[in-house]
Amino acid sequence: MLDIAAVTGSTAAIGYGLAAIGPGIGVGLVFSAYIQSTARQPESSRLTLPYVWIGFAVVEALALLGIAFGFIWAG
């Protein structure tokens, strides 16, 4: 078969790009919920802030697992 065009590189990069979609949406949802709740009820902002960071960290862990496994299985 004749190659008309070819791309070389690591498929891990593509995989990580796909894997980052989910956590990206998740982190966006966490902060959008925080902004919305603070706009509706400004006095609750300090109360909810620790949960924002915990939620953010838990969601972000997925993207970070993606980085780690990307390097492990980069091949």
Binding site: P50, W53, A61, L64, L65, I67
Partner: protein, 263 residues
């Protein structure tokens, strides 16, 4: 321009994991010897700086604090009030010293990542975050067992209040998330953030040189790339503070979960 490109000729691009293994210091310049490298030196320096700073600033405590005492007190007060007490409740004051140590140690270790001419964080090697995560992991389990007793602690942490027929599904999930994922994600989160940050700065710095090497007319793009490096350094500063805070808050929340009576 010819001389310049000869100087720049061997810029390695793209950066790789190998860039994190710096040559040894004590047998000077050796490559496969990792007993005393820049990383080791930075960790010792961090430890020394924290110990000396807190000792000196609290040697003669005064009612109206001096500037040094004020800084030390506000760091401790921040962690005690905004992390320990807020997450754990009044019982959290007991854990404030550990959490403050953790916070300052991680913060300073991360901060080496953007100090000019140092620019690598010890936390970009997984060994250091893994050790910190192990300490937090052992501590929150120990605290839980001390508070409840082993059997009750296992019951509290593994059996959520749910109908009995769903428990065979929930118990393994709870076990997996509490005892397996927690230490792993604590360590990997800190490590991956520092690792990716260093990698990002390397890509833009070395990328500028690589473009300049390819063609001297690419100089404007190189300048843009180096300007990006500076902008990303500020982003890194944000990430550095955030990760130190997140690690501390998560440790506090795990301790809180271990001390909680019911789900």
């Amino acid at each position: 321009m010819a001389v310049q490109s000869m100087v720049l000729a061997d810029v390695p691009f793209p950066p790789s994991v190998e860039d994190f293994y710096l040559p040894s210091i004590l047998p000077w310049g050796e490559h496969d010897n990792y007993w005393f490298t820049k990383i080791t030196a930075l960790v010792w320096l961090t430890t020394a700086l924290i110990i000396i700073f807190f000792l000196v600033s609290y040697r003669k405590p005064q009612l109206v604090p001096t500037k040094k005492q004020w800084i030390a007190e506000s760091v401790y007060g921040f962690v005690r009030n905004n992390v320990a007490v807020e997450m754990i409740g009044p019982a959290g004051v007991r854990f404030a010293p550990y959490l403050t140590t953790l916070f300052t140690f991680i913060l300073l270790n991360n901060f080496w990542g953007i100090v000019p001419f140092v620019q690598i964080s010890p936390n970009s090697h997984i060994a250091f975050p893994a050790m910190l995560a192990a300490v937090s992991y052992v501590m929150f389990i120990w605290v839980g067992i001390r508070h409840h007793g082993f059997v009750k602690y296992m019951k509290v942490s593994l059996i959520p209040p749910a109908p009995w027929f769903i428990l065979p599904l929930l118990i393994p999930i709870e076990f997996f998330s509490t005892f397996l994922v927690r230490p792993f994600s604590l360590a990997v989160r800190l490590f991956a953030n520092m690792f990716a940050g260093h990698m990002l700065l390397l890509v833009f710095t070395l990328g500028g040189f690589a473009m300049l090497n390819a063609n001297a007319w690419f100089l404007p793009f190189s300048l843009v790339s180096w300007a990006m490096t500076i902008a990303l350094t500020f982003l890194e500063f944000l990430v550095i503070c955030l990760q130190a805070y997140v690690f501390t808050v998560l440790t506090a929340s795990y301790v809180q979960g271990a001390l909680a009576d019911e789900h």
